[in-house]
């Protein structure tokens, strides 16, 4: 396993797309984690005489409608994005993993019921479902995470179920069964490791989607409360004041673009390395 990991890391290190992705993600994560040390200003501090300032040596990405430093707020926004993104992906991934394996391994009726459930959730337009759920819950970060989990775990469930089903009837599993292997051994030793590859690819691809849902909800006014420096809220401020300054919307969009590129590139690189069909085609 350790050798396999080293082989994977080695292969990723030789892939320019993967290197670019890792550089972007590492930079963003580092900036978010050390936001309080890096930020030149308190992200809540208002400088009314400097409102809508353009980028300068004093305010690197300019200021917003209340004269707050945009760079400092985007750093804090990174923390929110990563908190929401990672928490939601981990929770929705785990729920999807468990339900997907139950669907794949369970009786036909349970599979059909779960499949119907997954497809019903996936059929809803994500943002509409998010708006409906947000309207029923108090506004805040927890609500955003709950909404994102509800709107995204079905995707994992669907993928894991498909993988489980295809593995369930493979020859090596049948052989294990014939040799009297326990259910737990089959699941944890054979199915789970084989499902994790596509699962991680999906998780990497999904992280920017989740962050964008959070930003979208904040932009639409149902995400985090006003004053919270989420990237979506900064974009909303930028939209509200686009006639006063273009910098706010440009600065607010920058980290979203970077995080989307970073995780999409990482997902693609992982897929290229983990999918045997793609690898053999090279």
């Amino acid at each position: 396993m350790s050798q396999l990991r080293h082989t994977l890391i080695g292969r990723l290190a030789r892939d320019p797309l993967a290197v670019m992705a890792i550089v972007i993600i590492t930079t963003l994560v580092t900036m978010a984690v050390f936001a309080n040390l890096i930020a030149p200003y308190d992200y809540t501090a208002m400088h009314m005489s400097e409102r809508f300032a353009a980028p300068s040596a004093e305010f690197w990405l300019g200021t917003d409608n209340l004269g707050r430093d945009t760079f400092s707020r985007l750093l804090q926004g990174g923390r929110i994005a990563l908190t929401v993104g990672l928490t939601a992906v981990v929770i929705s991934g785990l729920i999807g993993l468990v339900l997907g394996m139950i669907a794949g391994f369970g009786p036909r009726w349970l599979d059909n019921a779960l499949l119907f459930f997954f497809d019903t959730l996936r059929a809803y337009p994500t943002i509409i479902l998010a708006l409906a759920l947000a309207a029923l819950m108090p506004r805040g970060l927890t609500t955003v995470i709950v909404v994102v989990v509800i709107t995204s775990f079905a995707e994992y469930g669907r993928v894991v179920r498909t993988q489980t089903l295809s593995l369930k009837h493979s020859e090596f599993i049948l052989a294990e069964r014939a040799m009297g292997a326990s259910f737990g051994r089959i699941v944890f030793h054979h199915i789970l490791p084989n499902v994790l590859g596509p699962f991680f690819i999906l998780a990497a691809m999904n992280l920017p989607v989740v962050i964008t849902i959070e930003a979208g909800m904040s932009f639409l006014g149902v995400g985090v409360p006003p004053g919270t420096p989420s990237w979506g809220a900064t974009l909303k401020d930028g939209f509200d004041h686009i006639r006063q300054t273009p910098w706010l919307i440009l600065s607010g969009g920058l980290p979203l673009i970077l995080v989307t590129l970073g995780f999409t590139f990482l997902g693609e690189a992982l897929r290229d390395q983990l999918d045997p069909k793609l690898r053999s085609g090279r």
Binding site: M46, L66, R139, P225, G227, H241, R243, Q244
Partner: protein, 526 residues
Amino acid sequence: MSKTAMHRAFPVLSRRQLLAGAAGVSAAAMLPVKAWAQEGQLNIRVYTEPDDFDPVDASGFGEALLYGAIYRNLIQYEPGDDWSYRLDLAESIEQTSDTTIEFTLKEGQMWSDGYGEITAEDVAFTFERILDPEMNSRILPDIGTLARVEVTGRYSGVFHFDEAFAPFWWIALPYLAGTIVCKAAIEEAGGRITTEVPPTVSGPYRVRELRPGERWVLERNEDYTGDIPADYERLDIIYIGDEAAAEIALEAGDLDFTEVSPGSVGRLQGNPPEGTAMSMHPSLFYVWVGMNMEHPKFQDIRVRQALQYAINVNAIIEAAWYGVAEPSTGIIAPGLIGNRPESLIPPQGDPQRAAELLAEAGVENLEVTLNVLNDVTFTTAAQVMQATMAQAGIQLNIEVHESGSFWTLGVEADGDRWQDLEMIMNRFSMLPDPSYATAWFISEQIGDWNWERFSNEEFDRLHREAGTETDDARRDEMYRRAQDIMEESGAYRFITHGVTPNLYHDNTVPGTRPDGLPLAQYFRRA
């Protein structure tokens, strides 16, 4: 079909090509596109959608704009810079004693759809519906002490009041309560007008189509018999809650007239977009922060007073109104009877005094929730309050609501949310008589418009007596005292009356009240 042939028929895009394409389309979508309104069509924006076609249910600006276009009153506000009114359905109308107003209608004024002539029976029916307790009309306070309407002839009648009620001329006759409805049509419809069918109208426009949440489409009323006929074939009243979005819509040619945000005033005054003009008007609206006096957190007056002192009104005006408005001293604007020269608590507040009051009340780590409309001015104001209140050790949480949710927060008939309501930043529309401001804060209004659940016997008495007082100096004194009582209760922190900056296409001559609100029926082509 072979794979190659399929690729020719449906070109396959890579993820990167797709992203690049999407970016290109997004950029193209951001380019300004002029889609000028069709000739003969006027598009006016409303920030709050009308409820329905029935004046008995009316609640504010949305209905006032719609009803002005499709219905008529005995008298109407005259557009311009000074408050005045003109005769509309009335040929004559006069105060014949403290408790009677006599009117005579113009002859030959017609309802649409073959409902015949407008008569004094329609006038009496209109006001009696509001008086009818079963109708549960929210505009009942507008008609004050009106007791009944006597029909003395086909075209004449007398309003009888229990006591003198001077505000009737300014807040009832030319406004919502004075919107005359067709007795025959309403009785035929079962007593209430819904949005199911277009109403029988008398104004220069009639209803063609209703698209809830989007627009109310009106067209010229060919049966109109008044002296201000429609100047447009079609009038669209378009609902756009957000001022920034409305401003963009106007510049794109989708609107002909809108109020814009205070933040845009500086830019638009110096350099308005091509083909547009801007006008500024002193507003009568009043904005305040209220506290639910029945909520456990606010039952100690010292806590309420601490919050009053913790709010820096000057900072709010500077940040949210960009310095173009002035701090208000109460709910009655300058220029009106009852305007106070200054508030009891200075506009800049006093965080230290706030902290002292909280200490006296034995309250530590106070955490309160402020409810605001999802509007950039209000959310900006809330964030400033959050920052300044923190100086007094108060944590302010902000709850933002869409219009539909916001306007039911404190209404008992709409659920139990009023019980959890803590603080609210609110804005009410206003007419040029002070009784229209105090009417919503009397004890009877608790759970309807009085969301602070403020109740004070002296206030109620002053409101009642000032409405029947005919001496202006005496009224002035009474309304000032009424606002002192509101402020002394600790439940109110007055913020501003704001301003009304309007942006419109220069192919339109807007008709607006002195406070800048549009009177759709007066709009003309340039």
